[in-house]
């Protein structure tokens, strides 16, 4: 057994992050790890990588029990971790990025630049990739940087490599390439722990998939027998969601008309229209340009050419401020970093977009209106919270997402763009968000609904635009459309 973790418990003060978890890795496997944020999977990985120490429990590496160890010792045991941000040095050469950590660990004082060249070139060659070792790392695309991180782990003689959300910044073809490399390394006896919230990817590449929930290991699935995504979802969320088909509330008036919108390296010739009260889905692989399109409509990364009409008037979305003035709002996929001010209170987060409307004539904040607004929003969206002055970080993911939604609903936008609004939240919060969306659509608000979850798109949307390679490839009506047909269209679209 390459690695065996026995009854691992980790407490932070009174909070139990991991509760008696058993986990193991064999040589030459890819082991997927899933669970919503805060389920304990990251904590376990940090313990295995030596970045954190368990409160109780034992870890065996190659059947030898190891006392809690440091990251440097983990490296000696052959364990490497590649964090989501890759932890590389953009100002150093690729070559130096690969060998520096090993040299530091070796305790040597000086560097002879040619020393590692042959060894590294051999690894690069064995992976069958092109890589300029003299290039400055910061100038490489993210996919290449990730390969550098993998090569660094291999150069450090890692036999177990932990990958934390390795595909978030990659396009479809880059992901395929990464999987090819992981599989060839697996054949050479390297093992991977693959953390991701994208179930289709895990099902595609993993030998086993382990599900975490609330600090417990729920189940480890063997992916050699055909495994259904719904089985894993059920384990992750506690129960399976039943999707109901919402009836269309689309009116006649066009509220958003986009014509030939283009932005270099992002998307090209995007044209579509959105009606009042309509929920329009956007599907497509990562790197298809769907998030980039949303960012352009919201003015965060404005388009270079093309036109945007809101309610019949041509508008400019050259900044977020202008987009919001035109009634366009955006709920981002990355809730923690982009959606919330995580260290501030629930009330402050909920009222963040409304501050200008809460001014008294003297230009001061009308505190009564401010508190009332926040309280009303909490009721309207059925947010479950302790005190409204508590930090937003004290809420569950689902309730946090409701607050993000509330923040924008408070200013009554004409068009609300939702980017993967239900990623990593529990079933109850999911359906509450769907209900809110349709209640608002009933009142005439129009939605662009971007999602990876096909059943969600099918149940919520009237039409779905399928994007690929920065373009709209197809437009599908959801009436009579099956999940399989939609999946096929997305694959056809490519990325």
């Amino acid at each position: 057994m390459l690695l065996k973790a026995e009854k691992i418990t980790k407490r932070y003060g009174g909070v139990v992050a991991l509760d008696q978890v058993d986990f193991d890795m064999v040589t030459g496997e890819i082991h997927g790890l899933v669970g919503v944020n805060g389920c304990g999977k990251s904590t376990l990985m940090k313990i295995i990588a030596g970045a954190e120490h368990q409160t109780a429990g034992k870890i065996y590496i190659d059947d030898v029990e190891r006392a809690p160890y440091s990251p440097a010792e983990a490296m000696q045991y052959g364990i490497g971790i590649i964090y989501q941000d890759l932890s590389l040095f953009p100002n150093l050469s690729v070559y130096e990025n690969i060998y520096l950590s090993k040299v530091i660990a070796s305790g040597k004082k000086t560097i002879s630049p040619k020393e590692f060249k042959a060894g590294i070139e051999e690894i690069v060659k064995s992976l069958g990739i092109e890589l300029d070792l003299t290039a400055n790392l910061g100038e490489l695309p993210i996919a290449k940087q990730q390969l550098v991180a993998i090569i660094r782990a291999l150069f450090n003689k890692s036999r177990l490599i932990i990958l934390d959300e390795p595909t978030t910044a990659l396009t479809g073809s880059e992901i395929a390439n990464l999987f090819k490399i992981l599989n060839s390394l697996k054949a050479q006896g390297i093992s991977f722990i693959f953390i991701s919230h994208k179930l289709p990817e895990l099902l595609q590449v993993c030998d086993r998939i382990t599900v975490f929930k609330d600090g417990h290991l729920i189940n480890t699935f063997d992916n050699h027998q055909p495994l259904q995504q719904s089985e894993i979802e059920r384990a992750m969320l506690g129960k399976e969601i039943t999707y109901k088909k919402y009836p269309s509330t689309a009116g006649q008036d066009v509220v958003l008309k986009v014509s030939n919108l283009s932005l270099k390296n992002n998307f090209k010739d995007i044209s579509f229209s959105l009606k009042k009260g309509e929920v329009l889905g956007i599907a497509g692989q990562l790197g298809s340009g769907r998030t980039e399109l949303a960012m352009a409509l919201f003015g965060a990364e404005p388009a270079q050419s093309g036109s945007i009409e809101v309610a019949g008037h041509q508008v400019s979305c050259s900044s977020i401020g202008k987009a919001v003035e035109n009634g366009i709002a955006y709920v981002p996929e990355d809730r923690l970093n982009l959606g919330l001010v995580i260290d501030q209170s629930i009330r402050r987060n909920a009222t963040l977009c409304s501050l200008r409307r809460l001014n008294t004539f003297a230009g001061l904040l009308d505190l009564n209106a401010y508190k009332e607004l926040a309280a009303n929003l909490m009721v309207e969206l059925k947010v479950k919270f302790g005190r409204i002055s508590n930090k937003i970080s004290s809420l569950s993911g689902g309730n946090q997402q409701k607050v993000v939604l509330a923040k924008w609903l408070a200013i009554k936008p004409r068009i609300l763009i939702l980017d993967s609004p239900t990623v990593g939240i529990d079933v109850g919060a999911k359906s509450a968000i769907y209900e809110t969306v349709h209640a608002k659509a009933q009142e005439g608000m129009a939605f662009l609904f971007i999602s990876d979850e096909l059943p969600e798109l099918l149940s919520n949307c009237d039409r779905i635009l399928v994007m690929g390679h920065g373009r709209i490839k197809e437009e599908l009506a959801t009436a009579g459309l099956t999940e399989a047909q939609l999946q096929e269209a997305i694959v056809r679209g490519g990325a």
């Binding site: 100002n91 520096l100 040299v103 000086t110 630049p113 910061g138 390296n265 992002n266 090209k268 920065g470």
Partner: protein
């Protein structure tokens, strides 16, 4: 390979130095003489030594605004006690100034590391404390009667030739020491594990921590180094000017930082070379000398210093934006 050299910051600086030198020599033909050149080097040796310390701290992603204050304190302490105890030995003085400078720098590093406070704030505060302390203790009194041996640093001439008046002209010992130290620092940042670690730290501090750097040792080392460079520079200063004025170097921090930044170092860390820094200092020297020869008010020099810092920072920021923009996020089908 060849085009890479021509595009480098170092080449650009060199070209500017040559260009300005030629321009100035039209106004004053004496400018392009060996004598003027070594004089220029001598008067900019102090700035040059300061800049080595500042380069290292900028490379690491840190900052230091207290080094002139450290220099003032070291200078006063060393000269005062060497006079009082009648020790006339410049070599002992060098060791003493390096040590006292190192101690004062260590205090910066200690506060920055253990209390995780932004370096710029810490060093603004210690700058104020060191200088204030010096004024209180000394009442701002000047010191003369500098120990005789101190002048070895500025009066010893190497690589001498005779000028038209038959006087010996040569590079002073202080300048040679500066250039030797520059060479040493170059070796340190390019070939030693600690040096490369400092550069890497400036590139991404979180990564550095995760890769297993000894952050404590590195931080303490960096600020101690800046302190000792400041101490040494102060000794050169007293050797050249033959007096100790408690506020003579105060306010020149920005000039040093501007020279280092002009030399290609980034104020956000991780970028910069020793050669670039030395050329940055030299360009500053040529410009200020040229301004004097052309009778331009020295106050313009201050404006110039500020502009250099602003432009360098802006250019770096623009480059980052440009890089972000040009990144291919979606392979768009044409």
């Amino acid at each position: 390979m060849n085009t890479k050299i021509f595009k480098s910051r170092e080449f650009l600086l060199f070209a500017f130095i040559v260009l300005f030198s030629v321009l100035i020599s039209f106004v004053n033909p004496k400018f392009l003489s060996y004598e003027n050149f070594v004089d220029l080097l001598k008067s900019y040796t102090i700035l040059g030594i300061f800049s080595l310390g500042v380069l290292l701290v900028l490379l690491s992603g840190g900052f230091d605004l207290s080094f002139t204050a450290i220099a003032q304190v070291v200078q006063y302490a060393v000269v005062y006690y060497f006079i009082a105890w009648a020790i006339d030995n410049v070599y002992v003085a060098i060791v003493a100034s390096l040590l006292i400078g190192a101690m004062l720098g260590f205090v910066n590093g200690f506060i920055i590391y253990y209390y995780r406070i932004t370096a710029i704030i810490v060093t603004i505060a210690t700058n104020s404390i060191y200088i204030g302390f010096l004024y209180v203790v000394t009442n701002g009194d000047l010191l003369y009667d500098i120990p005789y041996s101190f002048s070895v640093l500025s009066d010893t001439k190497l690589f001498t030739v005779l000028n038209e008046n038959g006087a010996e002209v040569g590079v002073c010992l202080a300048t040679v020491l500066w250039l030797l130290m520059a060479l040493g620092l170059h070796f340190f940042v390019s070939r030693t594990v600690l040096g490369r670690s400092i550069v890497a730290l400036g590139g991404n501090a979180l990564s550095a921590q995760r890769v297993g750097f000894n952050l404590r040792f590195t931080t303490l080392f960096i600020y101690t180094f800046v302190g000792s460079m400041a101490g040494f520079a102060s000794l050169i200063q007293v050797s050249i000017f033959q007096s100790v004025v408690p506020n003579s170097m105060v306010g020149s921090e920005l000039e040093v930082i501007a020279a280092v930044v002009l030399g290609g170092a980034s104020v956000t860390g991780g970028r910069g070379t020793v050669l670039g820094t030395c050329l940055g200092v030299l360009l500053f020297a040529v410009l200020s000398n040229g301004m004097t020869l052309m009778k331009i008010s020295p106050f313009f020099y201050e404006i110039f210093t500020g502009i250099v810092i602003l432009i360098s920072v802006t250019v770096n920021a623009l480059q980052d934006i440009q890089r972000k923009r040009s990144q291919v996020r979606v392979q768009v089908e044409e």
